[in-house]
Amino acid sequence: MTLSFERLQATVQATHGRPGRGYWLLLASAAALAAFGGWAYSLIVRNGLYLTGLERPGNWGNLITDFVFWVGIAHSGTLISAILFLFRAKFRTAVYRVAEMMTVFAVMTAGLYPIFHLGRPWFAYWLFPYPNQRAIWPNFRSPLIWDVFAISTYFIVSTVFLLVGVAPDAAALRDRAAGWRKRLYTFLAFGWRGTDEQWRHYTRAYLFFAAFATPLVVSVHSVVSWDFAVSILPGWHSTLFPPYFVAGAILSGVAMVIVILVPLRRWLRLQEIITPLHLDMLCRLVMLTSLIVTYSYATEILTALGEPASDPERSTFVYRMTGNYAPLFWLMVACNCLGPSLLFSGKVRRNLRAVFVIALLVNVGMWLERFNIVVTSLAHDRNPFSWRVYTPSWVEWAMTFGSFGWFFFWFLVGIKILPPVSIAEMKEELAHEGHASGEVAHAG
């Protein structure tokens, strides 16, 4: 059946219907997981960081791994909404709203972990520049301050970008809603009426938002990579890190979009809007970024192996591949390099179960990648006397799993409030080219 404006709007509106028992169960599970993580963190607040497995030289572990992982997840939203918008990639229309929501909730998650990692989190505000009697300001030469600026800017700009995109859709939903939803959509619509004068300013402003967000998305994970790269630690001190981190972030983010979209389109009955063609295009992004990540792995390993046997860089990489953490390293390679290579087959890309599993494994692999970078380099530094194997404590694992609960809690709330698809952009697409059908035969 051809999708009409009315049918499109009705389909999106139906996603905000009364949630079933499954939804409440998922929401309660996510809230319980987040609460468990929060309780585990309260133990650290009350007793100190000794409850973690952190000990010299391994002063960064799971919590920093979680931070880098969630910042990476946050990358796909802006990539899909801003960068693909500038490149006029039509397939983004049906999927970018979910990716943008994911971005905002992932940054909300990521931003917590550096604070969790502080010995005295109640002084976290010291990281921000504010006028004070002693005229003490943050050290802008420190990569940790760059993070504060990059992450907070990214959070604000991503949220603004999401809400600006939602305004015309909120107006469409407002006019057919009642009760608290009507009040909410009236607020989110910002007085939107759809006049030509409004569209004239809106389309121009949206272009500028995309133009601002594009370099921002590249800068944020580059800045995160500099947390490591500007140090002199073997395994961290590398000029390869910014592009390597950005590609890895996009890989994990797009994989997370797939992991969410495959069940979501079925649950919310969005199959007519989010078609296999859209998932096929996302799979191609995964393939591309997986190739870049694989190239980066090969580059840093081969560069290190080219050094003399006494070189600390070589020693770290040999340790990474053969030492205590070797199983995690090879699992990472399998998940991030071998798994996505299966997507070269059009048959695999058309099999949504296979796509879901591959994308899920990419997320596991990308978490392991961050763990490998953070932990193995510290565990095997320049001084053999201080070498030590870091093992995360149960408190850290609780906080890691709690982060997933926190993220999915907000996502589940968000999906029932905000339209999961851009209604306005879909209508524009429908009026001119017809919607991308479910046929992906040409895509093989």
Binding site: Q9, W137, F140, F149, A172
Partner: protein, 167 residues
């Protein structure tokens, strides 16, 4: 505040709405307005308004962000000139990162303010009568001023599904 007096036609297809806008303009109607659920390019082209100049607000906003970033990093470093890590007090490469982020932040927020003001101005009930279907599936074409009967005739000839007088 009621809408300005005019004739409102409702269309289901963007191409028909675009034809109606062009026909009204040819018939001498200088003030033709449209409300639609998406920015249909043919309708926007038919309206023929110049490109929005919110860049005159956004770019100065970004420039202000740049200056704020420079002021924040350089100014605060000079206010307490403490040498750390053997680096110059004013270290340009690391400061560029913070300056860039502040530029993007203030530029984006200025862009938000600009589009909000423009949207408020262009969305007043006086500009276009309130009609829920124009956010959903219909395109409204409003001819303000001129001869109402002629406007009604032009809109009907162009395939308007409903035509009525407003204001």
């Amino acid at each position: 505040m009621p809408a300005e007096p005019g004739v409102l036609g409702s269309f289901g297809e963007p191409s028909a709405a675009a034809s109606a806008v062009r026909a009204l303009k040819s018939a001498g109607f200088t003030d033709v307005r449209v409300a639609m659920p998406a920015p249909f390019p043919e309708v926007i082209a038919a309206i023929g308004k110049p490109r929005s100049r919110i860049d005159f607000v956004t770019f100065p906003g970004a420039l202000l962000g740049l200056l704020c970033g420079i002021g924040l990093t350089v100014g605060t470093s000079l206010a307490w000139p403490l040498i750390t890590g053997g680096k110059p007090v004013v270290s340009i490469p690391p400061f560029v990162i913070v300056i860039f982020e502040v530029t993007v932040l203030i530029g984006s927020l200025t862009n938000l303010v600009a589009v909000s003001v423009g949207s408020w101005h262009g969305g007043r009930p006086r500009v276009f009568p309130r009609h829920p279907t124009f956010n959903a599936e219909r395109i409204g074409v409003l001819a303000v001023g001129g001869d109402p009967s002629q406007a009604e005739r032009v809109l009907r000839d162009c395939g308007a599904e409903e035509v009525g007088r407003v204001g």
